[in-house]
Every structure is written in C-alpha cells, then in structure tokens.
C-alpha cells in the first residue's frame, strides 16, 4: 500500500510540475498576474508530493519490503538501518528520485528567497525549474519507476553493493546532487533572462548566491567522493580519472568559470553572453553526469539493449534541454548588447583567460570520457583513456590558470599595466621561485614537476598575502575596524584561492614524494618504508553485521619509537559473497601511513600493500577551504542587508 501511495504522489507531482512549467511562463509572456502567481504554490505542492514519494520509498527500505523490485535489488535484511536508508539512492531509480527531490527543494528555496525579484522573472525561473522537473518525473514514471512491484515478492534482497556500505554513501551522493541540481537554478535564471530579454547586471546579482551555493555543495561532494575512494578502494589513490569522477568534475570546472564570469557580469556588465553560455553548460554537464553515472552506460554501452526506451528517453531529454537552450541562446543572445569595454591587460582579461582555460579543460575531460563510449557504441573498437592523458593535458592547461590566479585579484578593472603589476608582485614572484628551487632539495629530491607545483602553490600564497596586506595597509590603530569593513565576499575569494594553493601543494608533495611497497609478510615480519617500521602482528577473525572479516594488526614505529597501530581489514560480505578491502590508515598533517591487506598466502602469510602518503590530507583540506570561501562569500553583508531591507518593507506594509 505504501509504495502505491508513493507512486501516486509521483503522478500527482508530475501534474503539478506540468502546471508549474506552463502557466507561469505563459503568464509572464502575457502579463497575466494570476497565472504567474501559480508558480509559488505549485513549487510548494510539488515539493510536498515528491517528499511523500521519497519517504514512501525510504519506508519501503526501512521496513524491508521486498515486494518492491527496487528494494529487493538494493537492500537486504542483514543490512544495517543507516545503509538501508542510504540504499534509497544506491541504484538507478532511487537516484532519480533523489534528484527530483533535491530539485523540488531548490525550487521551493527559490520561491521563498525570490521575493525581491520582479514577478515575471520569478515566474519564469520557477517555470523553467518545473519543466526540468517534468522531464525527471516523466522519466521515472515511464521507464524507471522505483515503486514497481515484484511478483512474487523476494524472500530477501540482493543487498546493496558492499562497496557502497560506508558512511560515505550517506553523505556523498546527496551532497553531489545538491551541487548538480543546484546548477539548475543558475540555468533557470539564465533561461528566464533570455526569455524575458533582461540580461542585465541585476540578473547576474540575483543569480550569484545560488550559483555559489551549488558550487559549494559540488566542491564538498567531490571532496567527499575523493576521500571515500582513498580509504575504501585500498589502492591509496585519491583521484582515478574514472568516468564517474569525471562526470562530477566537468560541471565543477564549468561552474567555477561561471561564478567568476558572473562576478564580472555583475560588477562590469561584461561577458553577458558568455555567462549565459556557461550557465547552460554547467547544468547540461550536470545532467550528462547524472545519466552517465546512473544509467549503466559506463558499465556497458549495450546496457540499454535490455531496455532501449531508457536510453532513448535520456537522449531525447538531453537534446531538448541542451539543444533547446542553445537555440534560445542563439536567438536571443544577439540582442544582449555589449558590456563595458576593457583593456588587454585588465582584471576582466585575466578572468576571461581563466574562464577559457577552465572551459577548455572541461572539454578535454569530456573528450576523454565520451570518445571511448562513442567508439564502443558505434562498434569501432574498444579503447580506454587513462590517467596519463588527463595528466598530460591538465598540467599545461592549469599552469597558466593558477599563475593568473595570483595576478587577477591584484589587477585593476578595465585597465592595468604590466610594469605596475610586475612591480607589485616582484616579491611574491621571488619568494615562490626561491621556494620552488630550495624546498625540494631540503625534502630530498627535485624534479621539474615538483618545482612547478611548489612554485604555483607558493605563488598563490604569496600573491594572496600581498593582496591582504595591500587591502589592510595603513594605520595600525584602525586596523581592526578596516578589516571589519572589508566585505565577507572578498575574504571568501581569498580563502578559496588559498584553498587552491593548499590543494596544489598537497598534490605536488604526494605525487613527488609518496612511496609504496607490496610485500609478503608472516606474523612478526617487519617491513620498512620511508623511515618507518611496520611490524605485522598477525590477523584475527572478526564478525560484522553482514560480513566476516580478517583484521590485520600493524605496529608502526620510527627509530624504535612506537607511533601508531593500523588495522586494515579484508571483509567478506556474505550475501553477495564479495570480498572488500578496508584500508588501515593513520591520517596526519604531514604523513599518512596506509596499509591494506591483499590476500592470504601459504603458512599464515599475507600479501600486504603499504603506502607512505606525505601531505595527502592537504588535498581535501584545500577543497574544504574552497568550500569555506564559497560560504563566506554567501554570508556577505549585502545579501543579508537586502533581506533585512525586505523585512523592513514587510513590517512597513503590515503596519500600514
């Protein structure tokens, strides 16, 4: 009964989404206030209905209802409750429901925080979001219904893929989807602006906080995923250029370009058409990413052969969204008009250059991700493009981008001069070159890549330090009050840029100085790596809720002094009879020590993988700083002020 309620709620949600996607947009075109006014209540009702559907599915998982085919395929009676709930988004159908749910959350959020927008603009934005929602709900109801019954019901479920039975599964997908779907807001703002022909700086100002918010979620989502892969897969890697990862990285690159481009559009009125294009691009890549990961096309392009309707629907949906918005863009963009003029050397130019670099980088990822799929789909052979391709491409593309990050914030808008910039950045440059040359020698060895990475990281540190000093220079007595006067958004920018530097430093050091060994160890054996001794103290059996495990014990010491204990596990998940490696990690600021158990060998020996990962944690710390910077930008006074002014107006109205 409960699943049928969920199914019915989805059908009603589709009807409401159809209303939301049609009346307000038509009303905006005709100036019909009543039709436009439908947008807000429709957004709320839609959220309510999808939330009911979502709760129904979660209930089916929690109550172990194996008469629902999706539940039976992704859960098991032995599975702990928290993973049974997370299993809601463990497969294709449930992921789509999560997507639709999050879209409805963003839609309601826009309907609440858009009181300052003109009525027609708000109606168009909510209407476009409603149209996207129609696509997803229709897709679910037609070909991917999570509430389909299994007759007869299964005795027990096939279990959630053991790889996903991890706290990472609870947070990572919702975070990532908040980011993906969040770009639908920027997209809807852009489409609404195109429809209304109001591509002015006001549009950019309204769109900015939403875009930054989505970007923060996406950053945290990718960070979480990378960290999860690091400790879960047992290979010590943090990024594999896997198609699944690329699918989330492409919207991030374009989204990063978008938040910078929006800043220029708001402040200077330039880049309008480019900004719109990026907004369309970020959301299109989010859609593509969702479908790439969740449709099974990556496992095999022939996965759709079993249900060709799914593939057809996705293709048609993508063509309508991407093709339709690009066509609208082509039709409307010429009327946008040019923004303010700017010189060759100016902050606008530097931001534009970085925008182009980010866009080109995302296109190179797109090529490396999709081309093998195309070849395979057309029957032209199977190829794979691995990390070497992406490494080769990213270093030359990101080097100028990171360099310009140091220059851009210091350059003046409209017109700057090279000699002046050189003069102001000479110390930052000297410091970073010296660091790049000397630091590696202290650490052990120097390679061009280590030198380049350190140069770029310290370049950003030093240029940011210069930027802050310049902003706060003056009388010491008034320093505090002047620091308070600096907008939060500006601090957010500085923090996010420092995040990039921290990230770059982490990547450079871990790539340049990491070491690993794979050895056969008997209990009592000692392995040596990077000055540490790893004493293998044998393996004990242990039992989890739905798995049995061999738990290894390593005593790690340096120069005879005990440092830490590591407990890597080899688990066997009993339902799917699937072995899983749980790495034993001691995370630290400077050195991660990482062990994973391979397989049992003769005579109680095990094959063991030991890694030494210097400064690997800085990679995620950098990403966290980027997200923090985004949050600071969001908490900027001007966003709060506007809301305050708004409430003042309300009070005024009420008292009148």
């Amino acid at each position: 009964m409960i699943p049928e309620i969920g199914h019915f709620a989805l059908i009603l949600a589709l009807l409401v989404a159809l209303i939301l996607g049609s009346f307000p947009i038509i009303g905006a075109a005709r100036g019909n206030a009543v039709w436009m006014g439908l947008a807000r209540p429709a957004a709320r009702v839609q959220f309510f209905l999808i939330a009911i559907a979502f709760l129904c599915l979660a209930y089916a998982f929690a109550s172990k209802d194996y008469s629902v085919s999706y539940v039976a395929a992704n859960s098991n009676s032995q599975l702990p409750l928290r993973f049974r709930i997370a299993a809601v988004w463990g497969g294709h159908e449930g992921s789509l429901l999560l997507w639709a749910m999050i879209l409805s959350i963003w839609t309601v959020a826009v309907s609440i925080f858009s009181k300052h927008l003109p009525d027609d603009m708000r109606a168009r934005i909510l209407g476009v979001m409603g149209l996207v929602s129609v696509g997803f709900l229709l897709f679910m109801l037609m070909v991917s219904n999570p509430f389909d019954r299994l007759i007869p019901a299964a005795m027990d479920g096939r279990d959630l893929n053991p790889l996903l039975q991890d706290p990472g599964m609870i947070f990572h997908p919702p975070m990532l989807y908040m980011g993906y779907v969040g770009f639908s807001v920027a997209f809807s703002f852009a489409i609404a602006a195109l429809l209304g022909g109001q591509l002015d700086s006001a549009w950019a100002r309204w769109s900015r906080p939403w875009t930054t918010m989505a970007w923060v979620f996406l950053t945290l989502g990718i960070m979480g995923g990378s960290n999860w892969a690091y400790y879960e897969l047992g290979w010590g890697g943090w990024w594999f250029w896997d198609a699944v990862e690329n699918a989330s990285f492409m919207p991030w690159l374009v989204g990063t370009a978008l938040i910078h481009s929006l800043a220029v559009t708001e402040k200077r009125g330039s880049f309008k058409a480019w900004t719109v294009l990026l907004a369309i691009g970020a959301f299109s890549l989010s859609l593509l990413g969702t479908f790439l990961v969740r449709s099974g096309v990556l496992t095999s392009v022939h996965a759709f052969a079993t249900d060709p309707r799914r593939g057809l629907f996705i293709l048609v949906f993508l063509v309508i969204v991407i093709g339709g918005s690009l066509a609208l863009f082509a039709w409307r963009a010429p009327t946008v008009g040019r923004g303010g003029k700017f010189g060759v050397v100016s902050r606008e130019s530097f931001l534009l250059a970085n925008n182009v670099l980010l866009a080109v980088a995302s296109m190179s990822v797109l090529l490396g991700t999709l081309y093998p799929l195309f070849l395979d789909a057309l029957g032209l052979g199977k190829i794979s493009v691995g990390p070497p391709y992406f490494d080769t491409v990213f270093v030359p593309l990101m080097t100028p981008a990171l360099f310009l990050m140091g220059v851009g914030p210091i350059a003046r808008w409209k017109n700057a001069t090279v000699p002046e910039l050189a003069l102001r950045l000479r110390w930052a440059f000297a410091v970073s070159v010296a660091t790049a040359l000397i630091l590696p020698l202290l650490l052990g060895h120097w390679t061009p890549m280590i030198g380049l990475g350190l140069f770029l990281a310290f370049w950003i540190f030093a240029a940011s330090a210069h930027l802050v000093r310049q902003r706060l220079s003056g009388d010491v007595a008034t320093l505090l009050s002047r620091a308070k006067a600096v907008p939060f958004a500006w601090w957010g920018m500085v923090i996010a840029h420092i995040g990039i530097a921290v990230f770059t430093l982490g990547v450079t050091v871990v790539k340049g100085f990491e070491s690993e060994i794979a050895v056969r160890m008997l209990p009592g054996d000692v392995a040596h790596l990077a000055g540490y001794e790893f004493k293998f103290e044998g393996v004990k059996d242990s039992v989890g809720p739905n798995y049995t495990a061999s738990r290894g014990q390593f005593r790690v010491s340096k120069n005879g002094e005990e440092r830490t204990m590591l407990f890597p596990e080899k688990r066997l998940y009993t339902v799917q009879n699937m072995p899983m490696t749980e790495a034993g990690i001691s995370p630290a600021l400077i050195n991660d020590l990482y062990t994973s158990l391979g397989e049992p060998l003769d005579g109680g020996a095990w094959s063991v993988h030991i890694y030494h990962k210097p400064m690997v944690e800085w990679i995620w710390a950098g990403a966290a700083l980027m997200a923090l910077g985004g949050l600071m930008a969001l908490s900027d006074r001007r966003y709060r002020l506007r809301r305050k002014k708004l409430t003042d107006q309300k009070i005024l109205k009420a008292t009148r």
Binding site: V356, V360, T392, V393, R520, M578, M580, S607
Partner: protein, 153 residues
C-alpha cells in the same frame, strides 16, 4: 606605427584563436598518444597486437592457472577467451575480485615469447559483473566458434 583600435582588437582575437588552436592540438596529441587499445587473446595469439607499446587484454582466468613465485608477490596466470590463451605475469597485490574462472582485464605489453607482462590487473566490484572488455573477448571467440560448427566433424 600606431594601430587603430579595430586592428588591435583583430590582432587580439587572432592571438586568442591561435592559443585555443594550440590547446586543442595539445589535447588531441595527448589523447592520441595515450589511447590504450583492447585486444582479445585470439588477436594476441595471431600477433595482431602492437609491439613495445601497452594495450589491454580481457577474458577469463583459466581455473588452476594461478601460480605464485616464492616471493609471494609475483603471480602467473593464464587469460582465455575460450578459444586461445595468453600467459600473464604480474607483480603486486591482485584486486579483491580476482578469481580463477572469473572475468579479468589486464593492461601491459607482450614480449617475443608471447608472455604478457601486466602493469595493472583490473577486476571490477561486483561478483557477477563481467568487465566489458572480457565480455567482448568471449563474445568474439564465440562468434568464431559458431562459424567453426559448420565444418564437418
């Protein structure tokens, strides 16, 4: 020489386009030189594979073929597409789902004696999941197998 603003803009756009062109060239070059092709054991046997450069092979691990050297870390096994076989040597920890009789993909290169030295062994995370490359190898061998059925016994 004083350039008119219009000329200046034209030159800038030209430089921009040239830079984007260079970037595109860089990307395509990197793409071409880092593509890893996939071959079946039958193709390896026939010598249709590149010498010296790496490629991927896929198939099933022949049951009973897994042997370890005394160091415990160097393994030998044989990959088959059910028609032909390729001996493989690999030094390192095998992935969780590596099992005799199950699908596997290996990346590496082949020497003159036909021994495949793997730098990477992949087995994906699902008990029943067959790596697409392995499935393809079996399919191709089967297609050739069906044609051989026509021959008189």
């Amino acid at each position: 020489m004083v350039l008119k603003a219009r000329h200046k803009r034209f030159i800038l756009i030209a430089i921009g386009l040239i830079l984007i062109g260079l970037a595109a060239r860089l990307i395509l070059n990197a793409f071409q030189s880092n593509m890893v092709f996939f071959y079946t054991p039958t193709q390896v046997e026939k010598g249709e594979v590149p010498k010296g450069t790496g490629f991927r092979i896929g198939g099933l691990v022949v049951p009973g073929s897994l042997k370890r050297e005394d160091d415990g870390m160097t393994v030998h096994f044989v990959i088959t597409d059910t028609a032909k076989t390729v001996p493989v040597i690999y030094k390192g920890v095998l992935p969780d789902l590596f099992k005799e009789g199950k699908g596997v993909v290996a990346q590496g290169s082949v020497d003159a004696s036909g021994l495949f030295t793997a730098s990477e062994v992949l087995a994906k995370h699902d008990e029943n999941y067959m790596p697409p490359e392995a499935a393809e190898a079996l399919k191709r061998a089967k297609m050739q197998g069906t044609s051989s059925l026509v021959m008189p016994k």
